[in-house]
């Protein structure tokens, strides 16, 4: 079964009530996180009318953008933070795209993003402080470059920032046995599992 409709219906039923200041871990089937992101973004941006930030840790943001456009989902009020697309991709600039150097330097990544979230225009011309949520796609993509402890520190800092600024935080992953997921589980308000047959 292939389709965005079934996926979105299930996501909407289960995640529509999420509120600011909440952290949700979303477990996706292998290789389906991009499509889950697209479905979630449409619900948050277009159904709930929340401006937000998409943080891409493993793929250029253009893939998400194209997938949203292909499905007819608007993304005018979405800011992209792209940690991958700076190298080797045709799109180098975009007014709602903030390129940050690689997922292999998590302290730089955190410092840059947190300053952007605080509205620091030197870091980003994009006002991210008014955004109500961020979606991080996905935590398994950074395990190749970083030790689990480093990733846990990075995500814990993110969670603190998210809670202090009352943002809704969504973090995607697919490996429930990873030490990162195990460490984060206790911090999450909800752990949500996306089923294989929703596609």
């Amino acid at each position: 079964m292939v389709g965005m409709d079934v996926l979105k219906e299930n996501l909407n039923t289960n995640l529509f009530k999420l509120t600011p200041g909440t952290l949700v871990l979303v477990k996706t089937p292998l290789a389906k996180h991009l499509w889950v992101s697209v479905g979630l973004l449409d619900i948050l941006l277009n159904t709930k009318k929340h401006p937000g930030t998409y943080i891409s840790l493993g793929k250029p943001h253009v893939n998400v953008k194209k997938a949203m456009e292909f499905n007819g989902f608007k993304h005018d009020n979405l800011t992209f933070v792209d940690t991958i697309g700076k190298v080797g991709m045709p799109e180098k600039k975009g007014k709602r795209v903030h390129f940050v150097d690689g997922p292999y330097n998590l302290s730089l990544l955190f410092n840059t993003i947190s300053r952007a979230f605080e509205g620091d225009r030197e870091i980003s011309e994009i006002p991210m402080d008014s955004n109500l949520f961020f979606l991080m796609d996905n935590l398994d993509d950074i395990v190749f470059y970083n030790e689990p402890d480093t990733i846990v520190d990075f995500t814990m800092n993110f969670i603190d920032m998210m809670k202090s600024q009352m943002k809704l935080g969504i973090m995607l992953f697919h490996n429930e046995n990873s030490p990162v997921f195990i460490a984060l589980k206790s911090q999450a308000n909800e752990v949500f599992v996306v089923n294989d047959d929703w596609f």
Binding site: M1, V62, F70, V143, D196
Partner: protein, 231 residues
């Protein structure tokens, strides 16, 4: 951190053992061999394995061959479940698209756009382009650039892609495709006196401490089966 490396099982008995559990995800893998070495069967086995596990597959054929013809020949293999075709395994004819755009400006971008649209429609974890080498005769000058773009595009869509390549008698494998691939698997059907014997060799697999050298293989109605350690 190797245990964190996500892999997709190949579905070919013996091969996962050679690859530390399967193909790295995401990646593009060249499966190369001469005529009759079983490249298409190998690819269909890979997609069928995914379909059984609920993973979506996308099969691009660069020949203008309707699905039923491909299925007619493939259905002799026991691993083929016809119910999967059109559902868990989508079959897309790339041949007509290549013909349509071959002489036009921006043809490679248009072909890649078609591939991307098919991916966005089906959301696959497993992709096959069979055979990729036919495109070489069309993009004579920009073939390598096209292959690089295709390879990058496919990886960015987060899938494991098998690119099958026809090998000419004068070359060990299609060099242009090899440059852009994360892995190279060679299929042999070698003549020994009056009989032929099949072998499989993993020449390259990034991020993987793979088994090297020629490994004996069978191609029967069960599909491909490799016997690691038997040379």
């Amino acid at each position: 951190m190797d245990e964190q490396f996500v892999r997709l099982t190949a579905g070919i008995p013996g091969l996962d053992e050679m690859l530390e559990g399967g193909f790295p995800f995401p990646s593009t893998i060249l499966v190369a061999g001469g005529t009759g070495t079983g490249k298409t069967t190998f690819s269909l086995q890979f997609l069928s394995e995914g379909a059984k596990k609920g993973e979506q597959g996308l099969f691009f054929t660069t020949f203008s061959e309707p699905t039923q013809w491909m299925l007619r020949f493939a259905s002799r293999h026991k691993f083929i479940d016809k119910e999967h075709f059109g559902d868990m395994i989508k079959y897309v004819e790339l041949g007509p698209v290549i013909k349509q755009y071959r002489d036009q400006e921006g043809s490679s971008e248009k072909i890649i756009e078609f591939i991307e649209n098919s991916i966005m429609e089906t959301m696959p974890q497993r992709i096959v382009i069979d055979p990729i080498t036919i495109i070489g005769s069309i993009f004579t000058e920009r073939y390598r650039e096209f292959l690089y773009d295709v390879s990058q595009t496919l990886k960015n869509w987060q899938a494991v892609t098998l690119l099958t390549g026809e090998v000419l008698p004068s070359e060990p494998y299609p060099m242009e495709v090899a440059y852009t691939s994360d892995g190279i698997i060679l299929l042999y059907n070698e003549k020994f006196e009056t009989e032929r014997r099949r072998y499989v060799e993993v020449l390259k697999m990034r991020g993987t401490n793979h088994m090297t050298g020629w490994q004996a293989a069978d191609l029967t109605e069960e599909g491909f089966q490799i016997h690691p350690g038997l040379q």
